[in-house]
């Protein structure tokens, strides 16, 4: 351990993922480009995290993600101030903290990067939740810019032909909307190319996550929470492919030289729901102190989970299904199946579920999923109640007791 705060602990240094530096550079450049778009004459679109970004890339529009920004606000512990501000503006505390933070940020350019660049348009896809509809309407009124809504029907048990046609038609309308706002035609050859890059990026991300199936895992879910930003924000670009190729290489090297995310990995856990952004360090150290590694999570894998529905040679034709059948837009039984598949794939000893006060669609079915997983895999599961950004919903001593007790149960097995 470091005692003087100067000498880095070689053991800790060894465990650090080297690619992080490159990732920070990419994200910094991305935000600089987005924030200077007005000077460079580029258009900016705000888009929901699960929205189809590829057409924006084709049209040379810079995609900006209020949700990624929300995560940054949470991680920099600025969530409470912004949430309180939104409550002063009249928004309910029961509303999603990403939405509250974003709505409060806009008029004051608050948050860790002084606010997001002004949007020229908004693109809202409701495959992740229903809150985004009202949230984006609020922002469309505030900035007085056009809003495109892509409606993906909820896939209770299947994706019907009617649903496919319905979403496919909207993909065309989406492209027409972009053509109208940008006053230029869409290059469909480029669309095919970007579609291929998107699929390749998603595959690589899945491969990176899959390295955690190795025992001990070379990366943890906490690492994945960080490295996720690229597949969310820059999906469909070569940058993503280059970066994840390097990251995958590093993970393979870590496996080869026996470097694990957690020093003495004895217990392998699966995490469900969004991270608790302001407590990732605390949680990661808490679990590591119990020799437990969160080897996988349902959240970061959501950006490659519907790959099986997408044909890279017909991206435009198949993206309707790919974007509709994501983890948050399917029935609880299928969600539970996904969790069980992950438990098997990563050989998890237990599941930790974050019941996230903000994210209703993610948290709604958790008790059922918990029961199904316990019945089918007989492994312990823990539910902790918190919020992804609003620290007022986090009670450290209560959560500590739950985690400690859960680990005592696991260790006694």
């Amino acid at each position: 351990m470091t005692t003087d705060g100067q000498t880095p602990d070689p053991e800790k240094e060894k465990r650090k993922i080297k690619s992080v530096k490159k990732m920070k550079e990419i994200m910094t450049n991305y935000y600089i480009e987005a924030k200077t778009a007005e000077q460079t004459g580029k258009k900016v679109a705000w888009i929901t995290s699960g929205g189809p970004v590829e057409p924006l890339i084709v049209m040379d529009i810079i995609p900006v993600y209020p949700e990624n920004h929300g995560a940054m606000i949470g991680a920099s512990k600025m969530g409470v101030g912004l949430c309180e501000k939104s409550e002063q503006m009249g928004y309910s505390r029961d509303l999603c903290s990403y939405a509250r933070a974003d709505i409060a940020c806009a008029p004051v350019n608050g948050g860790p990067i002084g606010g997001l660049p002004r949007p020229d348009m908004l693109v809202c896809c409701n495959n992740i939740c229903g809150t985004v509809l009202k949230w984006y309407e609020v922002q469309a009124r505030y900035f007085n810019v056009p809003l495109f809504i892509l409606d993906t029907p909820f896939c209770h048990t299947e994706f019907s032909d009617e649903a496919r046609k319905y979403v496919r038609k909207q993909v065309d309308e989406y492209i027409q909307f972009l053509e109208m706002v940008c006053r230029k035609k869409c290059d469909f050859d480029r669309m095919a190319e970007v579609g291929k890059l998107s699929v390749r990026g998603q595959r690589l991300w899945q491969e990176v996550l899959d390295t955690a199936a190795h025992k001990p895992a070379p990366l943890s879910a906490f690492d994945a929470f960080f490295h996720l930003a690229l597949i969310v924000t820059l999906r469909g670009t070569q940058t993503v492919i280059d970066y994840y190729t390097g990251l995958l290489e590093e993970m393979k090297e870590r496996i080869a030289s026996g470097i694990s995310a957690v020093p003495n990995e004895k217990y392998r856990l699966l995490w469900d729901n969004l991270p608790v952004w302001y407590k990732t360090k605390w949680l990661s150290e808490k679990f590591a102190a119990h020799d437990a590694c969160l080897v996988a999570d349902t959240y970061t894998s959501a950006w490659c989970g519907s790959l099986k529905y997408i044909d890279e040679n017909d991206f435009l034709g198949t993206m309707a299904e790919g974007y509709s059948r994501i983890y948050l837009n399917i029935g609880v039984d299928e969600m539970a199946e996904t969790v069980i598949e992950m438990v098997d794939k990563y050989d998890a000893d237990g599941v930790v579920m974050h019941s996230n006060r903000s994210c209703k669609p993610y948290s709604f079915g958790q008790y059922d999923i918990q029961r199904i997983v316990q019945e089918k895999r007989k492994i312990p599961t823990l539910i902790i109640e918190a919020d992804m950004v609003d620290e007022r919903s986090f009670s450290e001593s209560q959560i500590e007791t739950r985690i400690d007790a859960f680990m005592e149960v696991l260790k006694a097995r």
Binding site: Q374, P380, S393, Q398, T401, R402, A405, E408, V409, A412
Partner: protein, 255 residues
């Protein structure tokens, strides 16, 4: 072999000394604002009360919310594991425990060896905890120790519907203003705690025999309400409040 268990909760601090698997002595004090001091004080109290010398103690386990601030303990173990071990000691047949403590309520299902199989705990809210009862006792100007016996005399329990301690308190105050009898309000409060805790325990699935532990188990009104809501008979030991400390002392023997 003499071992010590220290259970520093949010309202009271408990200590238990165990010698060769038998309970030797116990002590309870009010925690106050400093859990570290409470740990020291309850340790001193049990030593002077039992006549055991500090050097005779071969193992110490701390539990409860203040468990990590007890520097003289060899290890800290959560209340969940300790209550299960303590309940198993008090009655080895017990398979489920409901513990209502100062800031938490929990349901625990255990195996025949007293090992925790699964547990559920209340959400962040204080409703359904000992603190909730304390707030209500203050509002009603009734000694909390009289709650149980008073509620048994209720002829028509009042309905407390709020899920939040603060709102429930204002509901109680408006019931007082309406002239509702204290015994009926208290019975209503117990029913409301019973519903909350029974819902949590139901999710887990209680296996009989069920034992209630923790300080609130001293309140017969809550026990009766819980029996009504869970449909299970619930046993209470005279040592209910000390269950966690006893469990901690027993675990200290195995370390």
């Amino acid at each position: 072999m003499i071992t010590l268990g220290i259970d520093v909760g949010s309202i009271t601090a408990k200590a238990a000394l165990v010698k060769d698997g038998k309970l030797l002595s116990t002590a309870v004090i009010v925690t106050g604002y400093n859990s570290k001091n409470a740990g020291d004080a309850v340790f001193e109290k049990i030593l002077s009360g039992s006549g055991v010398n500090r050097s005779e103690i071969e193992g110490i386990v701390a539990t409860g919310y203040g468990r990590n601030s007890i520097s003289f303990a060899g290890k800290s173990i959560t209340e969940i594991t300790c209550h299960a071990a303590g309940a198993h000691f008090l009655n080895p047949a017990v398979r489920s425990v409901i513990d209502i403590g100062g800031q938490d309520s929990k349901a625990i299902v255990m195996d025949e060896a007293g090992k925790v199989k699964d547990f559920a705990m209340n959400d962040k809210c204080a409703a359904g905890t000992g603190r909730f009862l304390e707030v209500m006792a203050r509002a009603l100007e009734v000694d909390i120790n009289d709650f149980g016996s008073m509620s048994l005399k209720a002829d028509n329990p009042a309905k407390i519907s709020s899920l939040c301690t603060v709102f429930a308190e204002s509901e109680v105050i408006s019931l007082i203003a309406k002239g509702e009898k204290r015994k009926n309000i208290i019975a209503g409060i117990h029913e409301s705690i019973g519903s909350r805790v029974a819902a949590m325990a139901g999710r887990l699935g209680l296996t009989s025999p069920v034992m209630m532990t923790g300080g609130v188990a001293k309140n017969i009104g809550v026990v009766k309400a819980l029996e009504g809501k869970t449909g299970k008979s619930i046993e209470v030991s005279e040592m209910a409040q000390l269950t966690g400390a006893i469990g901690a002392a027993l675990i200290a023997m195995t370390l």
